[in-house]
Symmetry: C2
Subunit: 205 residues, 2 copies
Amino acid sequence: MEFSSKLLERAVNEMSQLPGIGKRTALRLVLHLLRQPESQTNQLSDALKAMRSEINLCKSCHNISDTAVCEICSNPYRTEEIICVVEDIRDVMAIENTSSFRGLYHVLGGKISPMDGIGPNDLNIETLVEKVKSGKVKELIFALGSTMEGDTTNFYIYRQIQDYNVVTSTIARGISVGNELEYTDEVTLGRSIINRIPFEASLKS
Amino acid sequence: MEFSSKLLERAVNEMSQLPGIGKRTALRLVLHLLRQPESQTNQLSDALKAMRSEINLCKSCHNISDTAVCEICSNPYRTEEIICVVEDIRDVMAIENTSSFRGLYHVLGGKISPMDGIGPNDLNIETLVEKVKSGKVKELIFALGSTMEGDTTNFYIYRQIQDYNVVTSTIARGISVGNELEYTDEVTLGRSIINRIPFEASLKS
């Protein structure tokens, strides 16, 4: 792509560093900004800079937070006996949206993935093990995505904490609510039969 | 969407102002920036700000340029007798990539679109008419997209300049090079038969 302006080229190049944004999309976005009032570009730039330099991770659960301890961890109405282990902050937001969980979270910051060069030491696993060792935690819920990396990470953490007195569970995998059987993939359907639940229990949820 | 951080929320909101970027995509992009070194966010912010505040439009053709008159308009090897009328700078880049055109451009900055509240006075039409009036221009090539707005804009400009001694043409519409007839839409195929060209002419291009 040949640009008639170095300023434009630089903006497009920086924009296209973002995941899923190619040069053409970046150009479209940048030209949009050019058509809008200058204030919009300044607000976007300032918001990104402020976020990157001032944002803070909760020192307990590693969730993104503006305070040293996040709102969830400091909420006295939530129990610290159940910890839901998730990959990143988006998972926290997704689970919070369901209003189905009143425990705390622990954000790993990723999944173990040798292919991407991510090992256990790159994740917030040690602090999780410390929490379990402290004895306050009664149950860990593994809520990672149902992928090989997710399963590997679950198993790695399980091995670290299996000698402590803590119940471990993973979120249920099965057919989606509202889905027809015929559109469900075989592996999910097979597992959903193996891991069937008592009918009375299904009435309660 | 509930955010655990105001800084994050502000960044996501600003990002989702961009066209085609929803809240979820914005969150994904912003979290990506958080995982990258702070320098990347700063470079992106600075590039956008610099572009928005310092960028300049060529005073002759309204193309984006770092100089008062753009490289194309100031190139002595290009003829100012043929002007290609385009909607925006992306069209200039697309045509320049073909290396098929040695004249100059005129960037309208949009198309007449009453639905979007864009009238002739919002576009760079007056300066184009002035160029034609000056007598230096021998041919105008309309190279707007083949839409109702494009056709309306072509016709509006045509009415403004029809009394002057200038040839007008539009870029050819027809089947794409390499395409099979059966996959071409009916309107395009019909027009391509009506606007057929002498076979000898097709051999030259």
